[in-house]
Symmetry: C2
Subunit: 461 residues, 2 copies
């Protein structure tokens, strides 16, 4: 490749689809093809597997056309004329993937925390979401949300919108503009949703079809995901429609499963033919390897086995489960059994949008579980929880193991210079662990999403 190197240009502004992404890039040409090469240098930390933390001090993370070529301790010869974005002693790690969150609930973050799930839905959530009928208001909230997520180092997301088609389009637009990648779903809910936030079955079907049509091919990085809110709010007819749609168009699906004891009993009443909650999705074709199910707090062995057998993804939402007193999910057990567990902020049941805080919340929740089970369930190590919030989540979006070759470049650069002074020189592993616990968005000085630089607080050397 090196011998075809023709030119290198330092560009500061790279204009893509009307959005300016700050960038420091070199161009290379191989035969007739121009390539964009990015080289980040720093203290590289990633978790290719749940119990493996790979650290390369003063390493080079090389990507070509947004795809990772590799992590190198010495820069390969063919890249030696390309400008290096040298972040010095900063930590470079994969950005976070948030696999479950309710975008409109950003407006009520940190409120209603004295209420359990079903009361909280009636008192706060449905009213908050109803306001998203107004798409100008939606734009105001979603623009802030998208910026806040990028600033906090989340570049992959699987988000619930509200039931409103137009505001769902606004959410997709704002995520795309900010540089996010992932899925957004117009919520379907045609029963048991209170007066302020419901649609008829026919409206739900019609609006879903129109939304899919409008969003088709419109966004490069944000795609639609079918989103039956949860079994109690979707009639059988609606579920059947969504199942057909998922199959016909090969669409992914997101919903909730076994979050709360009262909810599970309710599903049982609504679907007496189903012996377990998951079957109410399965029977409509909504429970497969393109499905991500949030929570799974109270899944017993049989339900966990069904999740595994069907290749369903679990979005563990530790802060939400504690805040709403839903329970403590058996995360360690699910991982051990081979389920594909990922992490969700679940705002606003969760009050933490920043995924590094969700990672530490997962550790804390697993420690609560460890205490609760008299230590029969072991707690998550720092590496395991970090893996869940990065690599494990990225895989739902088609990503690979950490910074493995072929992965799209999703990364953050963390400057920990403002953290408390230590008497001895800390190892990169210690600094990494501390960063997960302490970092604030201001410490995340650069963010890369699918190869594009979408945040820049600090220029590299």
């Amino acid at each position: 490749m090196g011998k075809f190197l023709l030119n290198r240009v330092r560009v500061l502004l790279w204009v893509v689809r009307g959005v300016r992404f700050l960038n420091t890039t070199g161009f290379m040409a191989e035969k007739d093809k121009m390539m964009t090469v990015q080289i980040l240098k720093g203290q590289i930390v990633h978790a290719p597997d749940s119990n493996r933390l790979d650290i390369l001090e003063n390493g080079f993370l090389v990507s070509v056309d947004g795809k990772i070529e590799g992590v190198f301790d010495i820069l390969p010869q063919q890249y030696q004329s390309v400008d290096v974005s040298d972040y010095g002693d900063c930590l470079i790690m994969p950005s976070f993937a948030d696999t479950h969150m309710h975008a409109p609930q950003y407006a009520m973050l940190g409120m209603g925390m004295d209420l359990p799930l079903l009361d909280w839905l009636d008192t706060y959530t449905f009213k908050t979401e109803a306001a998203f009928k107004d798409k100008d208001y939606a734009r105001c909230v979603y623009r802030r949300l998208a910026r806040e997520m990028i600033d906090n180092g989340t570049t992959r997301v699987c988000a619930f919108s509200s039931l409103h088609r137009k505001s769902t389009m606004v959410l997709m637009e704002e995520f795309e503009k900010a540089g996010m990648t992932g899925y957004v779903g117009k919520v379907n809910m045609d029963r048991n949703s209170g007066d302020v936030l419901t649609e008829t079955t026919q409206e739900s079907i019609r609006e879903t079809e129109q939304w899919l049509e409008e969003s088709s091919g419109r966004f490069k990085h944000i795609k639609p995901i079918l989103t039956p809110r949860f079994t109690p709010t979707c009639s059988n007819e609606l579920m059947a429609f969504l199942g057909r749609l998922a199959q016909e168009r090969h669409l992914p699906v997101q919903s909730h499963l076994s979050e709360n004891i009262a909810e599970i009993a309710w599903v049982k009443e609504l679907h007496p033919d189903c012996s377990q909650y998951w079957e109410s999705y399965k029977k409509y074709g909504l429970f497969n390897d393109r499905t991500v199910m949030a929570h799974c707090v109270h899944c017993d062995e049989r339900e966990r086995n069904a999740i595994k057998e069907n290749g369903v993804w679990v979005a563990h939402c530790p802060d939400s489960n504690i805040n709403l007193v839903s329970g403590t999910a058996p995360v360690r057990k699910m991982m051990k059994e081979g389920l594909r567990v990922t992490l969700g902020s679940d705002i606003a049941g969760g009050a933490l949008l920043a995924m590094n805080q969700v990672v530490t919340a997962a550790i804390r929740a697993s420690k609560a579980k460890c205490i609760e089970t008299n230590r029969s369930d072991d707690f998550l190590t720092v590496t395991e929880a970090f893996y869940l919030g990065t690599t494990a989540g990225a895989k739902f979006f088609g990503g690979g193991d950490g910074f493995a070759k072929g992965n799209e470049l999703h990364a953050i650069v963390v400057d920990d210079a403002s953290f408390p002074p230590s008497a001895k020189k800390l190892s990169v592993k210690e600094r990494f662990e501390r960063a997960l616990y302490l970092m604030h968005k201001d410490d995340i000085v650069a963010v890369f999403s699918n190869g594009r630089q979408v945040k820049s607080l600090k220029k590299p050397f």
Copy 2:
């Protein structure tokens, strides 16, 4: 009082003992006595009792010579010529009291989280504290710590230093300079402390006496507190010495109680004459109404009763208890039984220095307890947890109920303008709850400690 009003002056810098406190104050004179009057205007929120949240919209918080005169909806006539510090729509609430923390462990905040208590002490903590032999390093860490605490709205503290006398003096100096109030203790530990951090019994006694002499009368706002680290690290002779000292000089005491199952078993071995852990303090006169005991996670009914009967204060440290997998303290039960429960960050077992985060950690830990006990222990409401972090803690330092008349002025001003946009106008109560969950130090725009303004990010109108 009004008729004696002679003069009013707006001062921006008020120089006290070499430290500049930003201030906006009026001076009034009554007969021959000059008084300093401060009036803060805003959305006033405080919790005089554990189940009572008092809110006064657009209220006036008036203090004279640093002591609160009252909270008024209309400014009393005698103050009408005094300049008002109008914080507009900002929230004004009591500042936080942190009743248990290890100042030197600030240097290891957020590290070592995969280890349980006793291993964590050996691997991280003792080594970290050993570095405080160097008082220049201590100054560097303690200056940052003090600033960070004030910036996060903590104005009252009960802190463990290390065993080093000189660095303990440095901590007292830095707390005093930053505008903190409260207690600092030179740690006593003459056994079971590893090679790097131990003192002989005679050294411990001599250094403690010298420290008390050196600090006597030297600080206005920071006072000494006797600090046997915990029973396993203090010989009987040392405990007996500290008990005598506490009695002779009427000194307060801080230590640890029933944090961890292994620790409790160890105390039982070391003191076979004591049927319970607390008795190992009681027999030396270290368990009375000037004692604050951290954790109390595993206290059964008899031990809780002893705490109550002896008037001992409990410093509940929710984040530490989870991080070190110590257990979930029965906080709600202790409060119901009439124990005097307060909140501690317990850095660096706790990874959260900001006390608003410790308040929400207490809610979360109580919810984990609620789950663990199959809902027989109810969780803490937002008001209850806020009370623990403000009024309940303040009482250990001689404070009263919230912003009650006669209390020293300890307050923070929170600007929540950068929080997510809501569709409807939020009530002050909702904003208060959200602030507890979301606020970052940058949102705390002013801090008052014992009447002095010690932080100012925003000028009042």
